[in-house]
Symmetry: C2
Subunit: 326 residues, 2 copies
Protein backbone atom coordinates (compact mmCIF):
# COMPACT_ATOMS: atom_id res chain seq x y z
CA UNK A 1 0.00 0.00 0.00
CA UNK A 2 1.42 3.34 -1.00
CA UNK A 3 2.13 5.56 1.95
CA UNK A 4 1.94 9.32 1.85
CA UNK A 5 5.18 10.93 2.92
CA UNK A 6 5.72 14.62 3.01
CA UNK A 7 8.87 16.10 4.48
CA UNK A 8 7.22 19.48 4.74
CA UNK A 9 4.39 18.07 6.81
CA UNK A 10 6.80 16.49 9.28
CA UNK A 11 8.60 19.76 9.71
CA UNK A 12 5.34 21.71 9.96
CA UNK A 13 4.08 19.24 12.57
CA UNK A 14 7.26 19.57 14.60
CA UNK A 15 6.71 23.29 14.82
CA UNK A 16 3.04 22.72 15.72
CA UNK A 17 4.01 20.55 18.68
CA UNK A 18 6.93 22.77 19.69
CA UNK A 19 4.70 25.85 19.88
CA UNK A 20 1.59 24.19 21.38
CA UNK A 21 0.73 25.02 25.01
CA UNK A 22 2.06 22.20 27.20
CA UNK A 23 -0.47 19.47 28.00
CA UNK A 24 -1.70 19.64 31.59
CA UNK A 25 -1.20 16.39 33.48
CA UNK A 26 0.89 15.06 30.61
CA UNK A 27 2.78 12.63 32.84
CA UNK A 28 -0.29 11.19 34.49
CA UNK A 29 -2.07 10.79 31.14
CA UNK A 30 0.98 9.07 29.64
CA UNK A 31 1.27 6.76 32.65
CA UNK A 32 -2.42 5.81 32.60
CA UNK A 33 -2.27 5.09 28.86
CA UNK A 34 0.95 3.07 29.06
CA UNK A 35 -0.39 1.01 31.99
CA UNK A 36 -3.60 0.29 30.13
CA UNK A 37 -1.79 -0.74 26.94
CA UNK A 38 0.64 -2.91 28.94
CA UNK A 39 -2.23 -4.72 30.65
CA UNK A 40 -3.86 -5.35 27.28
CA UNK A 41 -0.67 -6.84 25.83
CA UNK A 42 0.09 -8.82 29.00
CA UNK A 43 -2.93 -11.05 28.65
CA UNK A 44 -1.64 -14.64 28.82
CA UNK A 45 -1.89 -16.25 25.40
CA UNK A 46 -4.25 -18.90 26.80
CA UNK A 47 -6.68 -16.13 27.67
CA UNK A 48 -6.19 -14.73 24.21
CA UNK A 49 -7.06 -17.99 22.55
CA UNK A 50 -9.94 -18.99 24.75
CA UNK A 51 -11.94 -15.79 24.98
CA UNK A 52 -13.84 -13.82 22.37
CA UNK A 53 -12.53 -13.24 18.88
CA UNK A 54 -10.92 -9.88 19.41
CA UNK A 55 -9.82 -10.22 23.02
CA UNK A 56 -6.19 -9.47 22.21
CA UNK A 57 -6.93 -6.30 20.33
CA UNK A 58 -7.00 -2.70 21.43
CA UNK A 59 -8.80 0.09 19.59
CA UNK A 60 -8.33 3.80 20.21
CA UNK A 61 -11.65 5.49 19.42
CA UNK A 62 -11.61 9.27 19.10
CA UNK A 63 -14.91 11.06 19.55
CA UNK A 64 -16.42 14.54 19.61
CA UNK A 65 -15.12 17.82 18.19
CA UNK A 66 -11.96 19.76 18.96
CA UNK A 67 -11.89 23.45 19.79
CA UNK A 68 -9.47 26.01 18.39
CA UNK A 69 -8.82 28.86 20.80
CA UNK A 70 -8.78 32.35 19.24
CA UNK A 71 -7.15 33.95 22.28
CA UNK A 72 -4.53 32.63 24.72
CA UNK A 73 -6.64 33.38 27.76
CA UNK A 74 -9.43 31.78 25.92
CA UNK A 75 -12.82 33.44 25.79
CA UNK A 76 -13.63 32.65 22.16
CA UNK A 77 -12.91 29.57 20.13
CA UNK A 78 -13.94 27.81 16.96
CA UNK A 79 -15.63 24.48 17.59
CA UNK A 80 -16.44 21.54 15.34
CA UNK A 81 -19.93 20.14 15.68
CA UNK A 82 -20.00 16.55 16.87
CA UNK A 83 -22.26 15.07 19.53
CA UNK A 84 -19.96 12.08 19.94
CA UNK A 85 -22.76 9.61 19.25
CA UNK A 86 -20.75 7.67 16.66
CA UNK A 87 -17.80 7.22 19.00
CA UNK A 88 -19.96 6.29 21.99
CA UNK A 89 -21.98 3.71 20.04
CA UNK A 90 -18.86 2.24 18.44
CA UNK A 91 -17.19 1.92 21.84
CA UNK A 92 -20.09 -0.21 23.06
CA UNK A 93 -19.90 -2.51 20.03
CA UNK A 94 -16.10 -2.83 20.04
CA UNK A 95 -16.24 -3.77 23.75
CA UNK A 96 -18.94 -6.31 22.96
CA UNK A 97 -16.72 -7.81 20.24
CA UNK A 98 -13.93 -8.32 22.80
CA UNK A 99 -11.71 -5.30 22.07
CA UNK A 100 -10.21 -3.20 24.84
CA UNK A 101 -10.99 0.47 24.12
CA UNK A 102 -9.21 3.75 24.74
CA UNK A 103 -12.04 6.27 24.40
CA UNK A 104 -10.37 9.59 23.61
CA UNK A 105 -13.30 11.99 23.77
CA UNK A 106 -14.26 15.64 23.94
CA UNK A 107 -15.21 16.66 27.44
CA UNK A 108 -18.99 16.74 27.67
CA UNK A 109 -19.61 14.63 24.55
CA UNK A 110 -21.90 11.58 24.58
CA UNK A 111 -20.54 8.73 26.70
CA UNK A 112 -20.74 5.00 25.95
CA UNK A 113 -23.95 3.40 27.32
CA UNK A 114 -25.49 6.88 27.70
CA UNK A 115 -26.77 7.50 24.18
CA UNK A 116 -30.41 7.01 25.09
CA UNK A 117 -30.47 9.29 28.10
CA UNK A 118 -32.11 12.73 27.95
CA UNK A 119 -30.07 15.93 28.44
CA UNK A 120 -29.18 16.43 32.11
CA UNK A 121 -30.06 12.86 33.05
CA UNK A 122 -29.71 13.43 36.78
CA UNK A 123 -32.33 16.20 36.84
CA UNK A 124 -34.50 14.70 34.13
CA UNK A 125 -34.61 11.09 35.40
CA UNK A 126 -34.60 11.27 39.21
CA UNK A 127 -36.97 12.53 41.88
CA UNK A 128 -36.83 12.77 45.67
CA UNK A 129 -38.09 9.68 47.52
CA UNK A 130 -38.21 10.14 51.27
CA UNK A 131 -34.70 10.89 52.50
CA UNK A 132 -33.10 9.75 49.24
CA UNK A 133 -33.77 9.91 45.48
CA UNK A 134 -34.82 7.35 42.89
CA UNK A 135 -35.21 7.15 39.10
CA UNK A 136 -38.66 8.14 37.77
CA UNK A 137 -40.34 4.97 36.55
CA UNK A 138 -40.33 5.95 32.84
CA UNK A 139 -36.54 6.32 32.91
CA UNK A 140 -35.53 3.61 35.35
CA UNK A 141 -34.41 1.02 32.80
CA UNK A 142 -32.46 3.41 30.56
CA UNK A 143 -30.71 4.92 33.60
CA UNK A 144 -29.93 1.53 35.14
CA UNK A 145 -28.59 0.16 31.84
CA UNK A 146 -26.29 3.15 31.47
CA UNK A 147 -24.82 2.90 34.96
CA UNK A 148 -24.52 -0.90 34.79
CA UNK A 149 -22.98 -1.05 31.30
CA UNK A 150 -20.40 1.58 32.14
CA UNK A 151 -19.61 0.12 35.55
CA UNK A 152 -19.00 -3.37 34.18
CA UNK A 153 -16.74 -2.16 31.35
CA UNK A 154 -14.65 -0.16 33.80
CA UNK A 155 -14.48 -2.99 36.33
CA UNK A 156 -13.31 -5.47 33.70
CA UNK A 157 -10.50 -3.07 32.86
CA UNK A 158 -11.48 -3.02 29.17
CA UNK A 159 -12.25 0.70 28.90
CA UNK A 160 -9.97 3.68 29.45
CA UNK A 161 -11.54 7.12 29.08
CA UNK A 162 -9.32 10.13 28.34
CA UNK A 163 -10.76 13.55 27.60
CA UNK A 164 -9.70 16.55 25.54
CA UNK A 165 -11.13 19.96 24.67
CA UNK A 166 -8.71 21.84 22.41
CA UNK A 167 -7.05 20.73 19.20
CA UNK A 168 -3.71 21.06 21.02
CA UNK A 169 -4.79 18.61 23.72
CA UNK A 170 -6.29 16.20 21.20
CA UNK A 171 -3.19 15.90 19.04
CA UNK A 172 -0.78 15.68 21.95
CA UNK A 173 -2.80 12.92 23.62
CA UNK A 174 -3.27 11.08 20.32
CA UNK A 175 0.49 11.06 19.90
CA UNK A 176 0.97 9.65 23.43
CA UNK A 177 -1.62 6.93 22.77
CA UNK A 178 -0.23 6.05 19.35
CA UNK A 179 3.35 5.74 20.57
CA UNK A 180 2.16 3.53 23.44
CA UNK A 181 0.05 1.33 21.13
CA UNK A 182 2.84 0.91 18.60
CA UNK A 183 4.07 -2.11 20.57
CA UNK A 184 0.82 -3.96 19.85
CA UNK A 185 1.69 -4.08 16.16
CA UNK A 186 -1.13 -5.23 13.91
CA UNK A 187 -3.43 -5.83 16.89
CA UNK A 188 -3.82 -2.08 17.41
CA UNK A 189 -6.60 -0.16 15.70
CA UNK A 190 -7.24 3.56 15.37
CA UNK A 191 -10.85 4.51 14.79
CA UNK A 192 -10.68 8.26 14.30
CA UNK A 193 -14.27 9.44 14.58
CA UNK A 194 -13.50 12.77 16.25
CA UNK A 195 -14.30 15.93 14.29
CA UNK A 196 -10.89 17.59 14.20
CA UNK A 197 -10.41 21.20 13.11
CA UNK A 198 -8.73 21.73 9.76
CA UNK A 199 -7.62 25.24 10.73
CA UNK A 200 -6.16 26.81 13.83
CA UNK A 201 -4.46 29.91 15.16
CA UNK A 202 -0.83 29.06 15.95
CA UNK A 203 -0.20 29.60 19.65
CA UNK A 204 2.73 31.94 19.08
CA UNK A 205 0.74 34.24 16.80
CA UNK A 206 -2.29 34.27 19.12
CA UNK A 207 -3.30 37.40 20.98
CA UNK A 208 -3.00 37.28 24.76
CA UNK A 209 -6.25 39.02 25.64
CA UNK A 210 -9.83 38.92 24.48
CA UNK A 211 -10.17 40.23 20.94
CA UNK A 212 -11.72 43.69 21.08
CA UNK A 213 -14.82 44.43 19.09
CA UNK A 214 -14.77 48.21 18.99
CA UNK A 215 -13.60 48.58 15.46
CA UNK A 216 -16.57 47.16 13.56
CA UNK A 217 -16.11 43.89 11.75
CA UNK A 218 -13.59 41.21 12.61
CA UNK A 219 -11.18 39.62 10.17
CA UNK A 220 -9.42 36.39 11.09
CA UNK A 221 -6.82 34.33 9.32
CA UNK A 222 -6.39 30.70 10.28
CA UNK A 223 -3.54 28.35 9.39
CA UNK A 224 -4.05 24.76 8.25
CA UNK A 225 -3.56 22.02 10.86
CA UNK A 226 -0.69 19.63 10.06
CA UNK A 227 -1.81 16.34 8.51
CA UNK A 228 -1.72 14.11 11.57
CA UNK A 229 -3.03 11.03 9.79
CA UNK A 230 0.27 10.92 7.91
CA UNK A 231 2.27 11.16 11.14
CA UNK A 232 0.22 8.45 12.79
CA UNK A 233 0.64 6.05 9.85
CA UNK A 234 4.29 6.75 9.12
CA UNK A 235 5.82 7.56 12.47
CA UNK A 236 3.72 7.02 15.56
CA UNK A 237 2.08 3.62 15.05
CA UNK A 238 2.99 2.39 11.57
CA UNK A 239 1.70 -1.18 12.01
CA UNK A 240 -1.71 -0.30 13.43
CA UNK A 241 -4.92 -0.77 11.45
CA UNK A 242 -6.16 2.75 10.71
CA UNK A 243 -9.70 3.90 10.08
CA UNK A 244 -10.51 7.55 9.51
CA UNK A 245 -13.79 9.34 8.92
CA UNK A 246 -14.95 11.92 6.39
CA UNK A 247 -18.01 13.97 7.16
CA UNK A 248 -19.40 16.25 4.50
CA UNK A 249 -22.71 17.95 3.97
CA UNK A 250 -22.36 17.83 0.20
CA UNK A 251 -22.60 14.27 -1.01
CA UNK A 252 -21.07 15.08 -4.37
CA UNK A 253 -17.66 15.71 -2.88
CA UNK A 254 -17.87 13.19 -0.03
CA UNK A 255 -16.66 10.06 -1.85
CA UNK A 256 -14.02 11.96 -3.76
CA UNK A 257 -12.57 13.27 -0.50
CA UNK A 258 -12.81 9.89 1.24
CA UNK A 259 -10.93 8.16 -1.61
CA UNK A 260 -8.30 10.84 -1.65
CA UNK A 261 -7.79 10.61 2.16
CA UNK A 262 -7.37 6.82 1.91
CA UNK A 263 -4.69 7.10 -0.73
CA UNK A 264 -2.91 10.13 0.60
CA UNK A 265 -2.55 8.89 4.16
CA UNK A 266 -2.52 5.13 3.61
CA UNK A 267 -5.64 4.55 5.70
CA UNK A 268 -6.88 0.95 5.71
CA UNK A 269 -10.45 2.20 5.63
CA UNK A 270 -12.14 5.58 5.38
CA UNK A 271 -15.73 5.82 6.59
CA UNK A 272 -17.61 8.36 4.49
CA UNK A 273 -20.69 9.87 6.05
CA UNK A 274 -23.06 12.58 5.06
CA UNK A 275 -24.30 14.91 7.79
CA UNK A 276 -27.99 14.28 7.27
CA UNK A 277 -27.92 10.47 6.86
CA UNK A 278 -24.94 9.57 9.02
CA UNK A 279 -26.98 7.63 11.56
CA UNK A 280 -28.55 5.43 8.90
CA UNK A 281 -25.83 4.77 6.38
CA UNK A 282 -22.07 4.94 5.83
CA UNK A 283 -19.82 4.01 2.93
CA UNK A 284 -16.54 2.31 3.77
CA UNK A 285 -13.78 3.06 1.27
CA UNK A 286 -10.96 0.48 1.25
CA UNK A 287 -8.18 -0.66 -1.02
CA UNK A 288 -10.55 -3.33 -2.36
CA UNK A 289 -13.38 -0.98 -3.21
CA UNK A 290 -16.36 0.59 -1.53
CA UNK A 291 -19.16 -0.89 0.51
CA UNK A 292 -22.32 0.75 1.81
CA UNK A 293 -23.40 -0.35 5.27
CA UNK A 294 -26.88 0.40 6.48
CA UNK A 295 -28.72 0.21 9.73
CA UNK A 296 -31.91 -0.82 7.97
CA UNK A 297 -34.38 -2.84 10.03
CA UNK A 298 -31.86 -5.46 10.99
CA UNK A 299 -29.62 -3.52 13.36
CA UNK A 300 -30.27 -1.14 16.23
CA UNK A 301 -27.41 1.09 14.99
CA UNK A 302 -25.36 1.42 11.81
CA UNK A 303 -22.29 0.91 14.04
CA UNK A 304 -23.19 -2.80 14.38
CA UNK A 305 -22.37 -3.73 10.76
CA UNK A 306 -19.58 -1.14 10.69
CA UNK A 307 -17.71 -2.57 13.71
CA UNK A 308 -18.29 -6.10 12.43
CA UNK A 309 -16.90 -5.19 9.00
CA UNK A 310 -13.78 -3.55 10.45
CA UNK A 311 -13.18 -6.40 12.88
CA UNK A 312 -13.14 -8.83 9.95
CA UNK A 313 -10.89 -6.55 7.91
CA UNK A 314 -8.45 -6.39 10.81
CA UNK A 315 -8.52 -10.19 11.19
CA UNK A 316 -7.38 -10.50 7.56
CA UNK A 317 -4.84 -7.74 8.14
CA UNK A 318 -3.36 -9.61 11.12
CA UNK A 319 -3.35 -12.95 9.26
CA UNK A 320 -1.65 -11.41 6.22
CA UNK A 321 1.06 -10.02 8.47
CA UNK A 322 2.01 -13.40 9.92
CA UNK A 323 5.04 -15.13 8.36
CA UNK A 324 3.26 -18.45 7.67
CA UNK A 325 0.60 -16.72 5.66
CA UNK A 326 3.08 -15.55 3.08
CA UNK B 1 -30.97 58.46 33.15
CA UNK B 2 -29.72 59.11 29.66
CA UNK B 3 -30.78 56.44 27.24
CA UNK B 4 -28.78 55.40 24.22
CA UNK B 5 -30.76 55.68 21.05
CA UNK B 6 -29.39 54.84 17.68
CA UNK B 7 -31.59 54.75 14.65
CA UNK B 8 -28.98 52.82 12.74
CA UNK B 9 -28.91 50.11 15.38
CA UNK B 10 -32.68 49.64 15.21
CA UNK B 11 -32.53 49.30 11.47
CA UNK B 12 -29.52 47.00 11.65
CA UNK B 13 -31.32 44.86 14.25
CA UNK B 14 -34.43 44.64 12.10
CA UNK B 15 -32.37 43.19 9.31
CA UNK B 16 -30.67 40.80 11.76
CA UNK B 17 -34.04 39.40 12.85
CA UNK B 18 -35.46 39.40 9.34
CA UNK B 19 -32.59 37.33 8.01
CA UNK B 20 -32.13 35.01 11.02
CA UNK B 21 -33.16 31.35 10.59
CA UNK B 22 -36.65 30.94 12.09
CA UNK B 23 -36.71 29.78 15.71
CA UNK B 24 -37.79 26.15 16.04
CA UNK B 25 -40.77 25.68 18.37
CA UNK B 26 -41.23 29.44 18.47
CA UNK B 27 -44.92 29.18 19.32
CA UNK B 28 -44.47 26.70 22.13
CA UNK B 29 -41.61 28.71 23.64
CA UNK B 30 -43.66 31.91 23.46
CA UNK B 31 -46.66 30.18 25.03
CA UNK B 32 -44.61 28.69 27.88
CA UNK B 33 -42.98 32.04 28.61
CA UNK B 34 -46.24 33.99 28.49
CA UNK B 35 -47.97 31.48 30.78
CA UNK B 36 -45.12 31.64 33.26
CA UNK B 37 -45.08 35.45 33.29
CA UNK B 38 -48.87 35.57 33.63
CA UNK B 39 -48.76 33.22 36.62
CA UNK B 40 -46.10 35.39 38.26
CA UNK B 41 -48.15 38.56 37.81
CA UNK B 42 -51.39 36.83 38.85
CA UNK B 43 -50.27 36.22 42.41
CA UNK B 44 -52.99 37.70 44.65
CA UNK B 45 -51.72 40.85 46.30
CA UNK B 46 -52.17 39.25 49.72
CA UNK B 47 -49.66 36.59 48.70
CA UNK B 48 -47.38 39.33 47.49
CA UNK B 49 -47.44 41.15 50.78
CA UNK B 50 -47.26 38.17 53.06
CA UNK B 51 -44.48 36.14 51.49
CA UNK B 52 -40.80 36.88 51.02
CA UNK B 53 -39.46 40.27 50.04
CA UNK B 54 -39.17 39.68 46.33
CA UNK B 55 -42.10 37.33 45.82
CA UNK B 56 -43.74 39.57 43.25
CA UNK B 57 -40.65 39.92 41.13
CA UNK B 58 -39.46 38.00 38.12
CA UNK B 59 -35.87 37.90 36.90
CA UNK B 60 -34.73 36.61 33.51
CA UNK B 61 -31.23 35.19 34.00
CA UNK B 62 -29.25 34.46 30.86
CA UNK B 63 -26.40 32.00 31.18
CA UNK B 64 -23.72 30.26 29.12
CA UNK B 65 -22.21 31.18 25.75
CA UNK B 66 -23.82 31.57 22.35
CA UNK B 67 -22.53 29.92 19.19
CA UNK B 68 -22.14 31.58 15.82
CA UNK B 69 -22.53 29.12 12.94
CA UNK B 70 -19.99 29.48 10.14
CA UNK B 71 -21.98 27.33 7.71
CA UNK B 72 -25.73 26.95 7.22
CA UNK B 73 -25.64 23.19 7.58
CA UNK B 74 -23.52 23.77 10.57
CA UNK B 75 -20.36 21.78 11.11
CA UNK B 76 -18.20 24.60 12.43
CA UNK B 77 -19.06 27.47 14.68
CA UNK B 78 -17.46 30.09 16.89
CA UNK B 79 -18.28 29.63 20.55
CA UNK B 80 -17.93 31.90 23.57
CA UNK B 81 -16.44 30.27 26.63
CA UNK B 82 -18.79 30.21 29.59
CA UNK B 83 -19.46 27.31 31.91
CA UNK B 84 -22.70 28.90 33.10
CA UNK B 85 -21.64 28.77 36.75
CA UNK B 86 -22.50 32.44 37.39
CA UNK B 87 -26.00 32.06 35.97
CA UNK B 88 -26.65 28.78 37.79
CA UNK B 89 -25.46 30.10 41.16
CA UNK B 90 -27.39 33.35 40.74
CA UNK B 91 -30.57 31.42 39.89
CA UNK B 92 -30.33 29.57 43.21
CA UNK B 93 -29.89 32.80 45.17
CA UNK B 94 -32.62 34.73 43.33
CA UNK B 95 -35.03 31.85 43.99
CA UNK B 96 -34.03 31.85 47.65
CA UNK B 97 -34.74 35.59 47.79
CA UNK B 98 -38.26 34.99 46.55
CA UNK B 99 -37.91 35.87 42.85
CA UNK B 100 -39.43 33.74 40.13
CA UNK B 101 -36.73 32.97 37.54
CA UNK B 102 -36.68 32.43 33.79
CA UNK B 103 -33.36 30.65 33.30
CA UNK B 104 -32.42 31.22 29.64
CA UNK B 105 -29.37 29.01 29.27
CA UNK B 106 -27.04 27.43 26.76
CA UNK B 107 -27.84 23.77 26.24
CA UNK B 108 -25.38 21.70 28.27
CA UNK B 109 -24.25 24.56 30.53
CA UNK B 110 -24.22 24.23 34.33
CA UNK B 111 -27.69 23.92 35.82
CA UNK B 112 -28.98 25.45 39.06
CA UNK B 113 -28.36 23.17 42.08
CA UNK B 114 -25.83 21.16 40.05
CA UNK B 115 -22.68 23.29 40.44
CA UNK B 116 -20.99 20.89 42.82
CA UNK B 117 -21.51 17.75 40.78
CA UNK B 118 -18.64 16.14 38.85
CA UNK B 119 -18.75 15.86 35.04
CA UNK B 120 -21.11 13.12 33.93
CA UNK B 121 -22.78 12.88 37.34
CA UNK B 122 -24.82 9.81 36.45
CA UNK B 123 -21.74 7.70 35.62
CA UNK B 124 -19.49 9.31 38.23
CA UNK B 125 -21.89 9.18 41.19
CA UNK B 126 -23.92 5.98 40.83
CA UNK B 127 -23.19 2.26 40.95
CA UNK B 128 -25.28 -0.86 40.47
CA UNK B 129 -26.96 -2.18 43.62
CA UNK B 130 -28.75 -5.47 43.12
CA UNK B 131 -31.44 -4.98 40.48
CA UNK B 132 -31.25 -1.20 40.70
CA UNK B 133 -28.64 1.56 41.16
CA UNK B 134 -27.73 3.88 44.02
CA UNK B 135 -25.46 6.89 44.60
CA UNK B 136 -21.92 6.07 45.77
CA UNK B 137 -21.65 7.12 49.40
CA UNK B 138 -19.13 9.92 48.80
CA UNK B 139 -21.52 11.60 46.37
CA UNK B 140 -24.88 10.82 47.92
CA UNK B 141 -25.49 14.18 49.61
CA UNK B 142 -24.40 16.35 46.64
CA UNK B 143 -26.53 14.25 44.27
CA UNK B 144 -29.56 14.28 46.56
CA UNK B 145 -29.30 18.04 47.13
CA UNK B 146 -29.18 18.66 43.37
CA UNK B 147 -32.24 16.55 42.61
CA UNK B 148 -34.21 17.86 45.58
CA UNK B 149 -33.35 21.55 45.04
CA UNK B 150 -34.29 21.40 41.38
CA UNK B 151 -37.42 19.35 41.98
CA UNK B 152 -38.79 21.73 44.61
CA UNK B 153 -38.12 24.86 42.50
CA UNK B 154 -39.94 23.29 39.55
CA UNK B 155 -42.83 22.05 41.67
CA UNK B 156 -43.37 25.47 43.22
CA UNK B 157 -43.63 26.90 39.73
CA UNK B 158 -40.89 29.46 40.44
CA UNK B 159 -38.43 28.32 37.79
CA UNK B 160 -38.81 28.17 34.01
CA UNK B 161 -35.87 26.78 32.04
CA UNK B 162 -35.50 27.67 28.35
CA UNK B 163 -32.45 26.66 26.34
CA UNK B 164 -30.54 28.09 23.38
CA UNK B 165 -27.44 27.18 21.41
CA UNK B 166 -26.91 29.73 18.64
CA UNK B 167 -26.79 33.52 18.81
CA UNK B 168 -29.88 33.55 16.59
CA UNK B 169 -31.84 31.43 19.06
CA UNK B 170 -30.61 33.44 22.05
CA UNK B 171 -31.64 36.82 20.68
CA UNK B 172 -34.99 35.64 19.37
CA UNK B 173 -35.90 34.02 22.68
CA UNK B 174 -34.65 37.02 24.67
CA UNK B 175 -36.96 39.21 22.62
CA UNK B 176 -39.93 36.91 23.33
CA UNK B 177 -39.15 36.92 27.07
CA UNK B 178 -38.60 40.67 27.22
CA UNK B 179 -41.84 41.49 25.42
CA UNK B 180 -43.71 39.12 27.75
CA UNK B 181 -42.08 40.60 30.88
CA UNK B 182 -42.78 44.18 29.83
CA UNK B 183 -46.18 43.96 31.56
CA UNK B 184 -44.48 43.47 34.94
CA UNK B 185 -43.08 47.00 34.76
CA UNK B 186 -40.48 47.79 37.40
CA UNK B 187 -40.87 44.36 39.01
CA UNK B 188 -39.07 42.71 36.09
CA UNK B 189 -35.31 42.27 36.13
CA UNK B 190 -32.89 41.23 33.38
CA UNK B 191 -29.65 39.69 34.64
CA UNK B 192 -27.69 39.17 31.45
CA UNK B 193 -24.85 36.87 32.45
CA UNK B 194 -24.68 34.96 29.15
CA UNK B 195 -21.51 35.34 27.08
CA UNK B 196 -22.95 36.63 23.84
CA UNK B 197 -20.92 36.80 20.63
CA UNK B 198 -19.94 40.25 19.44
CA UNK B 199 -19.49 39.03 15.87
CA UNK B 200 -21.44 36.76 13.57
CA UNK B 201 -21.81 35.64 9.99
CA UNK B 202 -25.11 37.00 8.65
CA UNK B 203 -27.31 34.07 7.60
CA UNK B 204 -27.83 35.36 4.08
CA UNK B 205 -24.11 35.65 3.39
CA UNK B 206 -23.34 32.24 4.92
CA UNK B 207 -22.18 29.33 2.78
CA UNK B 208 -24.55 26.38 2.52
CA UNK B 209 -21.99 23.60 2.85
CA UNK B 210 -18.99 22.85 4.98
CA UNK B 211 -16.14 25.27 4.25
CA UNK B 212 -13.50 23.46 2.23
CA UNK B 213 -9.94 23.41 3.47
CA UNK B 214 -8.08 22.46 0.32
CA UNK B 215 -6.71 25.83 -0.44
CA UNK B 216 -4.36 26.38 2.50
CA UNK B 217 -5.26 28.98 5.05
CA UNK B 218 -8.74 30.24 5.84
CA UNK B 219 -9.79 33.87 5.94
CA UNK B 220 -13.06 34.84 7.59
CA UNK B 221 -14.84 38.12 7.94
CA UNK B 222 -17.42 38.55 10.67
CA UNK B 223 -19.98 41.31 11.10
CA UNK B 224 -20.77 42.97 14.43
CA UNK B 225 -23.88 41.79 16.27
CA UNK B 226 -26.53 44.52 16.70
CA UNK B 227 -26.53 46.13 20.15
CA UNK B 228 -29.37 44.24 21.77
CA UNK B 229 -29.02 45.91 25.17
CA UNK B 230 -30.24 49.11 23.54
CA UNK B 231 -33.26 47.33 22.05
CA UNK B 232 -34.11 45.69 25.36
CA UNK B 233 -33.93 48.99 27.27
CA UNK B 234 -35.63 51.19 24.71
CA UNK B 235 -38.13 48.94 23.01
CA UNK B 236 -38.71 45.48 24.45
CA UNK B 237 -38.96 46.02 28.20
CA UNK B 238 -38.25 49.69 28.92
CA UNK B 239 -39.37 49.67 32.59
CA UNK B 240 -37.42 46.58 33.65
CA UNK B 241 -34.39 46.78 35.94
CA UNK B 242 -31.43 45.84 33.74
CA UNK B 243 -28.13 44.31 34.77
CA UNK B 244 -25.50 43.41 32.21
CA UNK B 245 -22.07 41.81 32.58
CA UNK B 246 -18.64 42.66 31.21
CA UNK B 247 -16.00 39.96 31.16
CA UNK B 248 -12.47 40.87 30.18
CA UNK B 249 -9.11 39.22 30.66
CA UNK B 250 -7.32 42.57 30.75
CA UNK B 251 -8.25 44.43 33.94
CA UNK B 252 -7.01 47.75 32.58
CA UNK B 253 -9.81 48.00 30.08
CA UNK B 254 -12.49 46.22 32.15
CA UNK B 255 -13.83 49.17 34.17
CA UNK B 256 -13.61 51.52 31.23
CA UNK B 257 -15.77 49.18 29.17
CA UNK B 258 -18.21 48.54 32.02
CA UNK B 259 -18.74 52.28 32.56
CA UNK B 260 -19.18 52.87 28.88
CA UNK B 261 -21.74 50.02 28.60
CA UNK B 262 -23.74 51.44 31.52
CA UNK B 263 -23.95 54.87 29.95
CA UNK B 264 -24.41 53.82 26.38
CA UNK B 265 -27.24 51.38 27.00
CA UNK B 266 -28.77 52.87 30.14
CA UNK B 267 -28.12 49.77 32.25
CA UNK B 268 -29.05 50.10 35.92
CA UNK B 269 -25.98 48.10 36.85
CA UNK B 270 -23.06 46.58 34.99
CA UNK B 271 -21.20 43.75 36.71
CA UNK B 272 -17.52 43.90 35.76
CA UNK B 273 -15.57 40.67 36.12
CA UNK B 274 -12.09 39.60 35.23
CA UNK B 275 -11.65 36.10 33.83
CA UNK B 276 -9.17 34.88 36.44
CA UNK B 277 -10.84 36.29 39.57
CA UNK B 278 -14.49 36.21 38.55
CA UNK B 279 -15.49 33.63 41.16
CA UNK B 280 -14.01 35.66 44.01
CA UNK B 281 -14.78 39.26 43.20
CA UNK B 282 -16.91 41.51 40.99
CA UNK B 283 -17.29 45.27 40.68
CA UNK B 284 -20.78 46.63 40.22
CA UNK B 285 -20.89 49.84 38.22
CA UNK B 286 -24.04 51.95 38.81
CA UNK B 287 -25.22 55.50 38.33
CA UNK B 288 -24.16 56.19 41.94
CA UNK B 289 -20.63 54.86 41.63
CA UNK B 290 -18.79 51.58 41.84
CA UNK B 291 -18.75 48.94 44.52
CA UNK B 292 -16.55 45.86 44.83
CA UNK B 293 -18.28 42.74 46.13
CA UNK B 294 -16.21 39.84 47.39
CA UNK B 295 -16.89 36.29 48.38
CA UNK B 296 -14.27 36.48 51.13
CA UNK B 297 -14.73 34.10 54.02
CA UNK B 298 -18.24 35.26 54.74
CA UNK B 299 -20.12 33.85 51.76
CA UNK B 300 -20.14 30.51 49.98
CA UNK B 301 -20.28 32.34 46.62
CA UNK B 302 -19.74 35.89 45.40
CA UNK B 303 -23.29 35.68 44.00
CA UNK B 304 -24.69 35.95 47.55
CA UNK B 305 -23.67 39.61 48.09
CA UNK B 306 -24.26 40.33 44.39
CA UNK B 307 -27.89 39.14 44.37
CA UNK B 308 -28.50 40.86 47.70
CA UNK B 309 -27.09 44.14 46.36
CA UNK B 310 -29.19 44.00 43.19
CA UNK B 311 -32.34 43.06 45.10
CA UNK B 312 -31.93 46.17 47.25
CA UNK B 313 -31.20 48.33 44.23
CA UNK B 314 -34.39 47.08 42.58
CA UNK B 315 -36.38 47.77 45.75
CA UNK B 316 -35.30 51.41 45.60
CA UNK B 317 -35.99 51.45 41.86
CA UNK B 318 -39.56 50.20 42.44
CA UNK B 319 -40.15 52.64 45.30
CA UNK B 320 -38.88 55.58 43.27
CA UNK B 321 -41.26 54.67 40.46
CA UNK B 322 -44.35 54.82 42.67
CA UNK B 323 -46.42 58.05 42.52
CA UNK B 324 -46.49 58.67 46.30
CA UNK B 325 -42.71 58.54 46.46
CA UNK B 326 -42.37 61.63 44.32
Amino acid sequence: MAVFLEEDNVEYSDSFFASAPPLKEQLSIAEKVQDFVARCSDLPSSARESSALASNRLVCITSGGTTVPLERRCVRYIDNFSSGNRGAASTEYFLKAGYAVIFLHRQGSVQPFCRHLPDDPLLACFKPAGQTIQPCSEYSSVVENAVRGHYLAMREGKLLKVQFTTLFEYLQILQIVALAMNGLGHHAMFYLAAAVSDFYVPWDSMVEHKIQSDSGSLAMKLAPVPKMLALLRNHWSPLAFCVSFKLETDKDILLKKARSAREKYGMHAVVANELLTRKERVIVVTDDGEIALEKGKRYPDVEVPLVDFLLNMQTTYIQDSQPHSK
